[in-house]
């Protein structure tokens, strides 16, 4: 990467907006693609929520959107399962992995470490376009004759392997697997780029112990991705072999549609192991970037250093390490040896420790702060709240004994939506509100941001808190209707309530979309450092330049959290009259390096 060369060669529309190698443009591409996929994913959830709430009613909107799969507005059970499956896939991978990590790793890694761009701009571009391709294939799979994949986002074989078992396991599943294989390639290329960039391209003075926590989170996330995504790729490849080439990795002793299959000796449990070896770290691939974003935004808007910087880094590393040895807690009742269940209970509950440390550190950061409630700050506090609520029920689900009766019920659905779904979405929103001025050079409307936050906060709890109780009552997830069990009749009101809240929450997202698009074009022009932040991205000019800094790369003299640092006499801040000292501010005369 030659720094000086940038900004001189002429750019065409195509190299600037489409096949761009500039990390800032790529980050915007990730964000827009992620948001579009998010709209599809959330719309799907509304459809199946309406089906659960009013299973005996027909809805015209079903027929409009689902066509022949909802004749006269009555949803077909296979389509219900397809909606659930694609909702999960899109939200987990396309929105919360690529949309969140792709956007902010790309935007912030070079800007916050003081680099001109990613280590390889070309690979970065390739990574985005592979992601785009995989999104196109996934969306395309919605339109195939027999319907998209419908075996649940975990695509356990044999259901996902045999077209005889359900229509979605035909071409729909082939497309799903192709899409995911490309997605994984994209994610791996992206992650390698992030890791190399963070290790090699930090500017002068930016030691690892002066990195903002965002960068630590993105860095560790990329490492987890590199370790675990290839395992999913191999699981997908083996499944493709079983589906198309007659192998028996996951299949054995199967009699279906009146005939015995030739497969022998394979084990679906093996697939579960391979799947969850990625599947669980994936939770943290989604969550850690959100926590990193929150750390940065809470510190900035509290006008205080983040509490326990080193403990925060330690927790991220501990969570990352533990996340790779807990996958079995998804499989307590899968038929694996109960002794293994004990081991996974032990490792799983250990994760509660670094999670608790992080939560308490966030709360302590607020303590005696001077809190500035910008919309990004509200979403960050919201994240801590849902992370705690959702994380605590993990103590129940991580305990093999208690998992027996709530496994695969709505209790699990409530748990993971709060702890990773909603929390990570809050992280995404917080990041967009906070770094919108950096991305588009405009300010978003704060009042629409407030409305958006409070509708979402009320709606998210309204949807997912009562859902725990529905799960406790024993209602299984992925049921097209529960009217065949009169025992569940008294859950109907609660299920309707949940759906009303879901519609309300989705409605609230329109405020965000409107604000986002409107501000992009008509927003107020952003000042260079609107949130009075210490990190390096705010030292770049508002108008994007190729190479980020017009002149020399900045030199870093301090850690990123010197907010409200008092001077030696204690009568003013180290910079008189200014409650922050950016990372490029040299140490003042007589100032002590208190922490870094």
């Amino acid at each position: 990467m030659s720094a000086g060369a940038h900004g001189h060669h002429k750019e065409t529309f195509i190299t600037k907006y489409i096949f761009s190698e500039d990390h800032k443009m790529i980050s915007k591409q990730y964000l827009i693609t992620g948001l579009l996929m998010g709209i599809i994913g959330i719309a799907m959830s509304l459809l199946f929520r309406m089906q659960i709430a009013w299973p005996e009613q027909s809805f015209g909107v079903f027929e409009v959107l689902l066509g022949k799969w909802a004749p006269e507005g009555v949803m077909d059970p296979n389509v219900y399962l397809a909606l659930v499956t694609i909702h999960g896939t899109i939200m987990v991978f396309f929105v919360l992995t690529a949309g969140l990590s792709g956007t902010f790793s790309n935007l912030l890694i070079p800007l916050q470490i003081g680099a001109r761009d990613m280590a390889s701009g070309f690979l970065n571009m390739v990574s985005y376009w592979l992601f785009f391709l995989s999104s196109i294939i996934m969306v395309f799979s919605l339109f195939v004759e027999a319907g998209p994949a419908a075996a649940g986002w975990t695509i356990y074989p044999p259901l996902s392997a045999l077209p005889q078992a359900m229509p979605g396991s035909g071409l729909g599943m082939t497309l799903w697997l192709s899409s995911m294989a490309i997605f994984i390639a994209s994610s791996l290329i992206g992650s390698l780029n992030y890791v190399v960039t963070v290790i090699n391209l930090r500017t002068k003075g930016m030691s690892m112990s002066r990195l903002p926590l965002t960068i630590w989170a993105f860095f560790i996330t990329a490492v987890i991705g590199i370790v675990s995504f290839p395992v999913l790729l191999s699981a997908a490849l083996l499944l493709i072999m079983d589906r198309s080439f007659g192998t028996s990795f996951f299949l054995g002793d199967i009699f279906i549609q009146g005939e015995v299959l030739h497969n022998q000796g394979g084990s679906p449990v093996l697939f579960e192991h391979l799947f969850w070896f990625l599947g669980h770290p994936e939770v943290y691939i989604v969550l850690l970037p959100a926590l990193g974003i929150t750390s940065e935004i809470i510190a900035t808007n509290s006008r205080k250093p983040i509490f326990g910087y080193r403990a925060m880094i330690g927790s991220i590393i501990a969570i990352a390490f533990l996340s790779t040895i807990v996958w079995g807690h998804h499989m307590f009742v899968s038929g694996m040896n109960p002794f293994l269940g004990s081991v996974f209970t032990f490792t799983t509950l250990l994760i509660a420790i670094p999670s608790a440390v992080k939560s308490f550190n966030y709360i302590t950061t607020l303590w005696k702060g001077n809190l500035q409630f910008n919309p990004g700050m509200l979403f960050s506090i919201g994240l801590v709240s849902t992370f705690i609520t959702g994380g605590l029920t993990g103590i129940i689900l991580g305990d093999s004994t208690l998992d027996i009766n709530v496994h695969d019920t709505y209790f699990v659905v409530a748990h993971f939506h709060l702890v990773m779904g909603i929390s990570a979405l809050y992280g995404l929103f917080a990041g967009v509100y906070h770094w919108f001025p950096k991305m588009y050079g405009k300010m978003m409307n704060k009042n629409l941001g407030y409305i958006h936050f409070w509708i979402t906060a009320i709606g998210a709890y309204g949807v997912f808190f009562p859902m725990h109780f529905v799960g406790m009552a024993g209602l299984p997830r992925r049921y097209y209707t529960y009217t065949n069990f009169p025992y569940f009749d008294d859950l109907a009101d609660t299920n309707q309530l949940i759906t009303y809240f879901a519609l309300f929450t989705a409605f609230g997202q329109l405020f965000f979309l409107y604000n986002f698009i409107h501000s992009m074009f008509y927003g107020k022009k952003a000042p260079q450092n609107p949130w009075k932040s210490n990190t390096l991205e705010w030292t770049t000019p508002v108008e994007h330049v190729h190479g980020n800094w017009p002149g020399e790369l900045p030199t870093v003299y301090r850690w990123p959290y010197d907010y409200s640092k008092p001077n030696e006499e204690g009568d003013d801040y180290v910079i008189p009259g200014q409650d922050y000292a950016t990372q490029v501010t040299p140490m003042q005369e007589g100032e002590k390096q208190l922490h870094h």
Binding site: G308, T345, I353, F360, T393, N445, G474
Partner: protein, 352 residues
């Protein structure tokens, strides 16, 4: 037409938002259009934070009161009591931590809402505090882990010394079958490759143990005797979920999975328990209301509901996954013996 209406609604919503944001901008006063939170915003949002945590407490209380009948149905198995105990301890602990941490989070947000006069305290590190909130979870979790693992080992331990009743649970798209081991209490060998005609479970006819096996569509269990389920699937993954017995195990093609428990309440006893009387009364109330509508439409009324134990499939298995169930009857040993004597053995079925 519908598309046109949808577009119209979207357009109107757009106008609404535009107007709303105008109104908010005007209410801000002309001099502050920076879109950065000012003291007024901090004051308002801080107050809403406090209101929010109060509302959250109200919601928690409401859920625990209004949904108390959802909370784990009365248990009908021996280990269920240990399970419920552990669940109770965990829930109490979780709610304790939830109430405190949410209060601190939102209360601090309210109390330390920013203003131009305030100064934040530079407080970046404290090893003692970090040690405290690392130590407390370690101790608490150690307790939970030990208690949990003790119970887990107990539940998952299938011991032949108990002289358990052996029953095969057989799953296929989209129904269940039970195969009793018969007088020898030993299941005959089976494999899907033997499926043919009336031998729908693929029992190995050359295995002498198989001759007295009994295949049924209902699951009858004698009360107070341990039962070991050996589970087998014909096609895809299923899961045998018996919530009243705190029992669940996946049913995996190509291998045999196991789960064991002792039922301690007969169906009759469960029906006459306070929990179930109240529950059934609520459900029948709902059904009576529905019937009014149904009769008005000239359709058939729903039967009043009577409780029976059931087993459901709890692993996505295809289109009719939602209706893959089997009735479970727990009864006295005499009743069970009478019932099983009436069923045909494998030998009788094949001979026909």
């Amino acid at each position: 037409m519908t598309i046109f209406l949808v577009l119209l609604v979207v357009a109107l919503l757009g106008v609404t938002f535009w107007q709303l944001s105008k109104i908010f901008q005007l209410s801000q006063g002309k001099n502050d259009n920076s879109q950065i939170a000012n003291d007024n915003d901090n004051k308002n949002q801080g107050k809403i934070m406090l209101l929010f945590v109060i509302a959250m407490y109200a919601m928690i209380i409401y859920c625990f009161v209004a949904y108390r009948s959802y909370f784990l149905p009365e248990t009908a198995s021996e280990h269920g009591k240990d399970y419920d105990n552990l669940m109770l301890i965990s829930v109490v602990l979780i709610m304790f931590v939830q109430v405190i941490t949410q209060f601190l989070l939102h209360f601090f947000a309210f109390k330390y809402r920013g203003s131009k006069e305030n100064k934040a305290t530079y407080f970046a590190d404290n090893n003692l505090l970090e040690a405290v909130w690392t130590g407390i979870p370690i101790v608490t979790l150690a307790g939970l882990i030990i208690y949990g693992l003790y119970t887990w080992t107990d539940i998952m331990d299938v011991n032949d010394e108990d002289d358990p009743l052996v029953v095969e649970l057989y799953a296929y798209q989209f129904a269940w079958r039970a195969r009793y081991a018969g007088a020898d209490n030993e299941l005959g060998k089976a494999n899907v490759r033997f499926i043919e005609g009336v031998n729908t479970l693929g029992v190995d006819a050359s295995d002498t143990y198989a001759m007295d096996d009994i295949v049924t569509t209902e699951l009858h269990l004698p009360v107070n005797r341990k039962v070991v389920f050996k589970m087998r699937s014909q096609d895809v993954l299923h899961s045998a979920y018996m919530p009243f017995f705190r029992a669940q195990m996946n049913v995996v093609p190509g291998m045999i999975t196991e789960f064991a428990y002792t039922p301690i309440k007969t169906t009759q006893e469960m029906r006459s328990s306070d929990f179930m009387i109240e529950k059934v009364e609520t459900i029948n109330g709902i059904r009576r209301n529905k019937n009014k509508d149904l009769l008005a439409k000239g359709e058939e009324a729903l039967e009043p509901y009577e409780f029976d134990y059931y087993l459901l499939c709890n692993k996505i298995c295809g289109a009719s996954h939602y209706n893959m169930q089997m009735k479970i009857v727990v009864e006295s040993e005499e009743d069970y013996n009478k019932w099983i004597a009436k069923q045909k053995t494998f030998k009788q079925v094949v001979a026909k």
